[in-house]
């Protein structure tokens, strides 16, 4: 295929603004699937993606389209739909020449959309504004177009009006893609370069790389080199991506996308953003923009049943086959036994991993509260990175602690601005910008310590704004913080897994709240249980959970002892989901109690 007749584009949209429906509609318009194959929202392939309405893995599809007698290939390159995966989003966008900016005409621009548009502009993409849900009674195309111009500075004169649901305007949209998105062009004639923008594991084919060719051609049988890892592999097969049935091909050339089968057992050698070139005639430079995966959030993951540590390791190893961003190392907790310190890209990534471990591998888990990575400078001039609060050195040894800050962008209706500012102030946020996009919509930009938002910020924001505010963030830098370690004792014993790092001036109130929350969460036990919060050796808050008064069924039906036994067995099963710490049984949520306080 002549690269002049290829168009590569992706869709930028906020959750619920109709991205998946629009993608399905475009696929249908190009007759790429039969009606029978068209299941709703086929671009989301994982169960968790469908349940949560988000895209975790980037999907792609190669489509054929005829316009004015000319045959075109259009590659729809989907992007992950969550802030945790912003690096992956940037690489997917880098594989394109254009992007559709889809905004719900009945709602307006959202924070996440803005962040992704900036990323697309950084990659020099042609952006086509698309107003979706134009047939809704609440649609207000002019207002939303104005909002896009105000918030992003994008000319909306030629914005397209569509309804992905009814199919209105879809043909015109595809025509616009062909007319407005530039054709791919090779900038380094004579070299072979393709960028890996996604990789995943297939049970039959092994690890697969989804690539976009920038220069030259990749052929079946080629010996290729992955430039940043320095590893060489043979190309076993190449396929054009398709949501139902990928099509085999012998080669992919400039501007084309393809799934490259290398027969690898793990995706770890196929890092997103890395460059594929010929082993015997490598390109001079890899494609710019590659970054090593760097987890922002860490948490301890422990099996509730201590003898399932090896099962947990196997499960993590298997998840890793398909998720190169997942990082983990064994760690030991005095309270929880053997487990792993796992690094995640963000909170959603953590939830998804935890859910998959429990659901797909059937391991009951304790997850400790997520924490960021602190940079600690010691008085002896050395410094270290602390990913686990219990490993924070003694205060006497610490010179300075630095913590990561993010730039948070929030878009909200005017009425909630007060609440949000209060929330951000309570979380040590520093205002950088406050812009009125129009009379009703406000954009807030804050620098906030990441530790203040990795926990439950998004949930709190949603409930404080009835779901109307949207939120996005990016890492900016490390800044000095006045921080201390707060420890929790249960029944007189330190529970290392419950230690947290808090701002010094909030230590007392956090300690008090945490103790109160634990009292709510921890059920009564056979014995009285003391709960204490301490700073160093100093107890700053304490409470007692009095002993249980009663747990017995007063009636045991004569000879029907089996019935009673079965009831007790059920209770026993319930207790299995608790973690014994000393003689105290703590429910899973106790380890996340820190997330439940303000």
């Amino acid at each position: 295929m002549n690269s002049q007749n290829i168009r590569n584009f992706s869709i930028i949209a906020h959750i619920d603004h109709g991205k998946s429906t629009l993608a399905d509609r475009i696929i249908q318009e190009c007759n790429a699937v039969s009606d029978r194959e068209l299941s709703a929202q086929m671009m989301d392939t994982m169960d968790i993606e469908k349940e949560r309405g988000i895209t975790i893995k980037a999907q792609s599809v190669r489509l054929n389209y005829v316009k004015e007698g000319q045959e075109y290939v259009i590659n729809l390159i989907d992007t992950p739909g969550h802030v945790d995966f912003s690096y992956e989003v940037s690489r997917s966008l880098a594989a394109c020449e254009g992007a559709l900016l889809v905004v719900d005409a009945s709602q307006g621009v959202e924070a996440q959309t803005i962040a992704n548009v900036y990323m697309a502009l950084d990659n020099d993409l042609e952006i086509i504004p698309v107003l979706n849900k134009i047939d809704l009674p609440a649609a207000d195309a002019d207002r939303v177009a104005e909002e896009i111009e105000e918030s992003i500075g994008l000319d909306c004169t030629d914005a397209l009006h569509v309804s992905a649901k009814s199919g209105l305007g879809i043909k015109e949209l595809i025509d616009a893609i062909i007319e407005r998105v530039p054709a791919p062009e090779s900038k380094n004639e004579g070299e072979v370069k393709a960028m890996i923008y996604d990789s995943w594991f297939d049970n039959y084919l092994g690890a697969l790389a989804l690539v976009r060719v920038f220069d030259g051609e990749i052929k079946k049988g080629d010996n290729i080199l992955i430039m940043n890892t320095g590893k060489k592999h043979e190309v076993n097969n190449i396929m054009y991506p398709h949501p139902v049935k990928p099509v085999d091909t012998n080669a992919i050339g400039v501007g084309e996308v393809g799934i490259v089968v290398l027969g690898l057992k793990s995706v770890s050698d196929l890092a997103v953003g890395d460059t594929m070139t010929l082993a015997n005639d490598p390109a001079k430079e890899p494609i710019a923009g590659y970054e090593e995966v760097k987890p922002f959030v860490f948490a301890g993951i422990y099996p509730i049943e201590t003898d399932r540590f090896e099962d947990l390791r196997d499960a993590l190893d298997k998840l890793k086959l398909n998720d190169a961003s997942l990082q983990y190392e064994p760690e030991t907790s005095a309270a929880l036994g053997f487990g792993f310190r796992v690094g995640f890209l963000g909170m959603l990534h953590m939830e998804v991993v935890k859910e998959r471990l429990e659901r797909e591998y059937n391991i009951d888990l304790i997850a400790t509260a997520p924490t960021v990575v602190y940079h600690v400078h010691l008085t002896d001039g050395t410094h270290l990175k602390v990913e686990n609060p219990s490993q924070m050195p003694d205060p006497q040894k610490i010179d300075v602690i630095e913590e990561p800050y993010v730039r948070a962008t929030i878009l909200t209706p005017n009425e909630f601005v007060g609440n949000i500012i209060t929330m951000l102030n309570n979380r040590r946020g520093i205002q950088e910008k406050m812009d009125y996009l129009n009379e009703d919509r406000v954009m807030l930009v804050y620098a906030v310590p990441m530790s203040e938002i990795v926990t439950d910020f998004y949930d709190k924001l949603k409930s404080a704004t009835k779901g109307y505010a949207s939120f996005d963030y990016e890492m900016i830098e490390y800044r000095e913080g006045d921080l201390v370690k707060l420890d929790l004792k249960v029944a007189g014993e330190d529970v290392d897994a419950l230690s947290i790092i808090v701002p010094k001036d909030k230590a007392y109130s956090r300690g008090k709240d945490l103790v109160a929350k634990m009292k709510e969460i921890v059920p009564r036990q056979l014995f009285e249980v003391s709960i204490q919060a301490s700073l160093g050796n100093k107890i700053i808050s304490a409470t007692k959970i009095s002993a249980m008064r009663k747990n017995v069924t007063a009636k045991c039906y004569g000879g029907d002892i089996s019935r009673k036994r079965k009831l007790l067995e059920k209770q026993k099963e319930g207790k299995k989901r608790m973690k014994s710490v000393g003689s105290v049984e703590l429910p899973q949520e106790a380890f996340l109690s820190v997330l439940k306080i303000d």
């Binding site: 056979l526 014995f527 017995v552 007063a554 000879g559 089996s562």
Partner: protein, 338 residues
């Protein structure tokens, strides 16, 4: 070997009742008692162990005229063992009690439940306070051993009401009382009943023990029923009647619980074979809910038993561990079995 006989007939159904009982089926009485006789004779023929106690429960045994029991008693020892019959104040007349006592019944368990009129109506009991007192007087005339059943933790209960019920009981000079906490059972009128928070159990226990009625099980006070105690001691028992469960040599036997199915085939039983772990668990929770106590061969369990004794939850006497608070029986069992 204990013997339990089930009489599934009732004059009316109480709102809380999940037992295998029938109203409006009295026409099957003849056939049912014929089946009871057949099953009992069969089971007695199969065991060498002597019968230690008999318990005739229901349903409402007093809803069936005494002469129906004659053939049954012809198969049982005449004297020397505890023979209890359940009865309800509405149907336990002096005449019925006398006839039963003549045949060998030496202990009566009266389903009084309360002396409070409102509470009796709430429970849909077929008697009132006066009928209860009359039945008790009649029982005392013919039997030395009389027990009452009382229900607590119903939404109409209060500390005052229960104290009054207990005072009435204590004034009657009886030897035993069973106090059952109301359990909303699926399939009953009370299935979705919201119960009061907390429990009056400890209050009841304290008052009864102060008056000399020691608890020997979570619901039972006074001079122990050897039959009940036998269950908690993990003795074998024969179950005779529709849905009457038997237990012998690690196997639990379940006859038809449907009245007509039972009459058609009284010898049929479904068998449940218990594993060693099942039996260990049962011995533990039964021992903990009663004065029977617990012992174990399992080192992990023994270690926990000793720990609980050190913490004052259990009392150790000659390698047996006794629960100090029956209301914690299940929690302690779960702790031992984890």
């Amino acid at each position: 070997m204990l013997l339990y006989l089930h009489v599934p007939y009732c004059d009316s159904k109480c709102h809380y009742c999940a037992f295998n009982s029938y109203t409006g089926m009295f026409h099957t009485k003849d056939a049912y008692f014929e089946a009871l006789y057949k099953q009992l004779r069969h089971l007695l023929g199969q065991t060498d162990e002597p019968i230690e106690t008999v318990f005739i429960g229901g349903g409402t045994p007093s809803a069936v005229q005494a002469h129906y029991y004659e053939k049954i008693f012809s198969l049982l020892p005449r004297s020397g063992i505890e023979i209890t019959a359940e009865a309800n104040p509405g149907s336990a007349t002096g005449e019925w009690i006398k006839q039963m006592a003549d045949m060998g019944v030496n202990r009566l368990s009266l389903g009084v439940q309360s002396f409070d009129e409102d509470k009796l109506r709430f429970l849909n009991r077929a008697h009132d306070q006066n009928m209860a007192l009359e039945a008790i007087e009649a029982a005392k005339q013919y039997l030395e051993r009389v027990s009452l059943d009382l229900i607590y933790n119903t939404p109409v209960d209060s500390k005052k009401l229960l104290q009054k019920d207990l005072d009435t009981f204590l004034s009657l000079g009886l030897e035993h009382i069973s106090c059952y906490e109301l359990t909303p059972e699926a399939g009953t009128r009370f299935a979705d009943l919201t119960l009061p928070e907390g429990s009056f159990g400890p209050l009841i226990k304290e008052k009864l023990e102060r008056s000399g009625f020691g608890a020997y099980e979570v619901s039972n006070y006074g001079k122990p029923s050897l039959h009940n105690l036998g269950y908690w001691q993990y003795k074998n028992y024969l179950g005779v009647g529709a849905g009457a469960i038997g237990f012998n040599g690690g196997i639990r036997y379940y006859p038809h619980s449907d009245l007509n199915a039972y009459i058609a085939d009284p010898l049929f039983t479904k068998k449940e074979r218990l594993s060693a772990a099942d039996m260990e668990m049962e011995k533990i929770f039964l021992g903990l809910r009663s004065s029977v106590g617990v012992t174990s061969e399992n080192p992990a369990v023994i270690k926990r038993l000793k720990h609980l004794a050190d913490e004052g939850k259990l009392i150790e006497k000659r390698n047996r561990f006794y629960n100090r608070d029956f209301f914690l029986a299940d929690e302690i069992a779960l702790y031992l079995l984890k």
